[in-house]
């Protein structure tokens, strides 16, 4: 779904800025978090964009 893909990319950018990591790493962490919490990547991305999930707090 193109729309959710946009959100995943935006969330990747937010994590990139939160953690000062590369965009590739940011996306990797997004995916890992989705995997480890049993959620979809899209749902984790939506949480990041809504600012209910901050990856700095997960470190």
């Amino acid at each position: 779904m193109p729309e959710t893909r946009r959100e995943v990319q935006q969330a990747t950018g937010m994590i990139f800025a939160q953690l000062d990591v590369s965009a590739t790493d940011a996306f990797y962490r997004l995916r890992m978090h989705a995997f480890s919490t049993g959620r979809s990547i899209q749902s984790v991305a939506a949480g990041v964009i809504a600012r209910t999930l901050d990856f700095r707090e997960l470190e």
């Binding site: 990319q9 935006q10 990139f16 800025a17």
Partner: protein, 261 residues
Amino acid sequence: MTDNETTTVEQHDESSPVSDTSREMLLSAAFVKLADTLVDDFDIVDLLQTLVEECKRILNIEAAGLMLTNQNEQLELVASTSEQADLVEIMQINAGAGPCVDAYTSGDPIAVPDIAAESTRWPAFSTAALNQGFQSVYATPMKLRGRVIGTLNLLGTTIGAVAERDASAARALADAATIAILQERLLRETTIVTEQLNHALESRIFIEQAKGALAQTYSVSMNEAFQLLRDYARRNNLRLQVVAAGIADRSIAASELTTLA
């Protein structure tokens, strides 16, 4: 004292159409602007962004979105007059079942003067559009040598057919952009149009990531983040994609975007 300023609906002011003369001048200027983007290091995303913004400025419409097909023959939003989720969502639904995808598959423009009247034809699209205050839509295909490569979509907040002169102006602008894509293809000496479309769509990945980085850094919305990105690109005479890629590799610091020249 009531806080009535908070209830003000954010809407584009010019409800009175621009005069014919100034409109012709604006339209000519738009074509010159499009032609200007075709010089050496021209970028397709910049061009398409210019196109939708000029549409909104010149034509009597409220919003515009441009979609190109990806490898899977799905339409993806490449440029829109607002990056706000509501418009993006409408366009995405539109790409699944709506006038946008119909214009794409038929190769003909689709005029919908009253979206509410099409609630059985396109239920999800009608609901989403009406919820955001859009009442009419005009979708025109972007054709390249008989092949449809995307659509240009104009959304209005009043019921009624898009004026023929606006429709023909929109078609002309869409044609100009389509020729530009062909031009880019020649410049790059690649053999398939698909690659050019992919290039445009891939550019969006960096732009979306950069928006996220700026939204995080400045605590702003994705729409405001996009404005920051574009303002910086314009101030420095850089392509959007170059700035987005610069943010991704940190050669441009997100935190300094508003202070750097």
